[in-house]
Amino acid sequence: MDLLSNLAMGFGVALSPFTLMLAVIGCFIGTIIGALPGLGPSNGVAILIPLAFSLGLDATSSLVLMTSVYYGAMYGGRISSILLNIPGDEPALMTTLDGYPMAKQGRAGDALVLSGVASFVGAFLATIGLMRLAPLLARVAFLFGPAEYFALYLLAFATLGGIASNNQAKAALASCIGLGIAMIGVDNNSGLPRLTGGNLHLYDGVDFLVAIVGLFAVAEVFFFIESHGKGSSIGVKLEKVTIPVRDIVESGWTMLRSSAVGFVAGVLPGAGASLGSFLSYMSEKSIAGENAGFGTGAPRGVAAPEAGNNAAAGGALVPMLTLGVPGSGTTAVLLALLMTLNITPGPTLFSDRPEVVWGLIASLLIANVVLLLMNVPMVRIFVRILSVPPGVLLPGVTMVSFVGIYSLSSSYFDLLLMIGFGVLGFVLRKLDVPTVPIILGILLGGHMENSLRRAMVLSDGDWTYLFSSPIAIALWAVAIVGFIAPMFLRNVLKRPQRITD
């Protein structure tokens, strides 16, 4: 069989004691980078590229190292989400919603093991999908024009209302804050700056990492100064770390479904891992219904976004390899790495350089297995973070955040902005305004506006263009259902005689 012989060739290229060692190191460094707030997979990979060169690694070894770091960072992002309520990077944002409540209940170990397994399932299935379907899936990107993308982003915002909040007006206001921030910067459709107040630093807009780290990490420090660490996950008596077999089995279908959703989101350039984890979480939440306790520490709420974002990370490699279109910041960096190694991704890569492609796929599989084996035993070490006294841990997290953000742009301006977001995050959380919609607004708002405006440019302002393809119509239908369903379901589910599983 073709696939197996290709895979055998890939492993022949990528599997040696030396590359295995690189994979282990890469996975470890990646996990740490992912867990540190402010340092995400994209700057992690970027930071390590010079290392690969200075070690004189050849193309295959560099690829193994970088993919290990990439997948490692995707795994690692969940750690600080669960333990500290601080997303290590943007795809791990949704994991805070149920992961942190679990940690507060003393189940940090369970949450970490479960999310590790979910990450493995998501990444593994995505790699399988990548090798079986990549050339085919590449064609999917050709089906998505501005109208289809607009409907896709609309779908994300339509389901936003379902995010845990007691006050819908506050959740909506939060998304408006995010959208409003997303509008700042040079407008791609006119080439002119908007709402920047003439400040050069704002011309490229506000980086979502600055917002995430400010709203979560810096705000968390303020909470600790206020409370001196009471009521947090730190110091909670931890249960012994075991493998939560029951949770894993019960989340089986969740992981499979979320992997599928995440993979599809990843394959679409411009959607990426964040949208993958968001859509996985929201669809699982609506499937499970109100009684499943999403938002209060439901194991399935941890498994869904992790399977989703890791599957999306694998999916994002499809357009990167087959079209040269980076679907996310990280794949943009991997693309740069490939080009520096004189490998130009594109539609002919699979036939021109099979050894590179299959070597890459083999190294993804290796990295994934290494990560699972490394992550489950390491949970014992991770949870010990929670026994570090807050007086050491929180200043440490803050300093890491500052350096991470400083490394993005080497400017003090982003740091000030981050502190501003920290203050905002403190006030908003005091007032029970959810902060997750702000990030989603920043992440997706610009894309949504751009696709709408591109669609209108192409159609001369004809609104029917937005519904001109079957894909667009289907996405609109799902968006409308997703918007209305929670209101309708809420009434149904409130009936006391309703029995749920």
Partner: protein
């Protein structure tokens, strides 16, 4: 904690060669993954490989204002740093010409040279009815709103200017009727065009090489003086009667305040990179055409480019 320390040691041993002492810094004025990032990393790697510098070049990404933030940083804070190089391209001169760097001028830094050019290209999907650049231009002349372009730069940017220059030269009066969508990079522009959402794409040759090989797109014209080696079957715009030459050169600038000796040192190093086998291979693999112009000649070339693009942008209406 013990494990962390052990890991730290392993990592330290690994990377001690990489980060021993501060070395040459190359600022890529954009996020990792773009053209400037490529320039810094590729030139930095070759500089080290061919022993022009004794330590690996450290790449700093300084995104912001389309390179304006880095430009400003170099002028105001690093004006006499002899160990600093900054990646530049046609996008740098286009923005300088359109006064998009908050009043900074090309003469605020010194342009060292360019060592490769990415020829401009106009391409359509393989199944497009337009077989030549003339077909496309005629269609635009007949009904400007029937033609749309996708490109990797924002409205008014370099990719947008390319078709506008051609159409203006062909006598189209109301060029603002020509639809243009600025997407995230050249490959994205190809996707939109192959998907049939836009009539044609405008971008760099390197961005469509793979799609040409796979037969997804057809290049109508390259915007060079002569046909590009390796792509001899693509006619130039000039030989089809549209005198437009536009290429995206890849090069470097350095701070204004460094000594002439330091400047010439960088010029020599850059020339050494241009002549290296490694760079020739990198160019061939990435669809760049040879174009080496280093030192004072290049400064004159940049001044000429800035003046031309400024005039063009005024004519078209991008700037007042």
């Amino acid at each position: 904690m013990k494990h962390l320390v052990r890991a730290a040691l392993t990592g330290a041993v690994l990377s001690v060669a990489a980060t021993a002492v501060s070395a040459t810094e190359c600022i890529a004025p954009a996020n990792p993954g773009g053209g400037w990032d490529f320039t810094c990393r590729q030139i930095g790697k070759i500089l080290y490989d061919i022993k022009q510098v004794d330590k690996p070049v450290q790449v700093t990404n300084m995104p912001g204002a389309g390179g304006g933030l880095a430009f400003n940083h170099v002028v105001t804070e690093r004006n006499d740093d002899p160990d600093l190089i900054v990646a530049a391209s046609s996008a740098t001169t286009t923005r300088l010409a359109q006064n998009a760097y908050a009043g900074r001028k090309a003469s605020d830094v010194r342009f060292v040279g360019a060592i490769g050019i990415d020829p401009g290209v106009i391409a359509v999907a393989a199944d497009s009815p337009y077989k030549s650049l003339k077909d496309l231009v005629d269609a635009a002349l007949a009904d400007p709103s029937s033609v749309s372009f996708a490109g990797g730069s924002a409205v008014g940017g370099f990719d947008h200017l390319k078709p506008l220059m051609i159409l203006k030269g062909a006598g189209l009066k109301d060029i603002t009727k020509i639809k243009y969508i600025g997407v995230d990079g050249g490959a994205d522009a190809v996707t939109q065009t192959v998907g049939g959402f836009t009539t044609a794409m405008t971008g760099d040759l390197s961005g469509i090489v793979g799609f040409l090989k796979s037969g997804d797109v057809r290049a109508l014209a390259v915007l060079t003086e002569e046909r590009v080696p390796g792509f001899e079957d693509i006619p130039t715009a000039r030989e089809q009667g549209y005198d437009v030459v536009a290429g995206n050169w890849r090069g470097l600038y350095v701070p204004r305040g460094i000594s002439d000796d330091d400047f010439h040192k960088w010029a020599d190093r850059l020339r050494a990179v241009a002549e290296s086998a490694e760079w020739k291979k990198a160019m061939a693999d990435n669809g760049l055409a040879p174009f080496t112009m280093v030192g004072d000649d290049f400064q004159a070339y940049v001044d000429k480019l800035v003046a031309e693009i400024r005039q063009m942008s005024k004519d078209i209406g991008v700037i007042q």
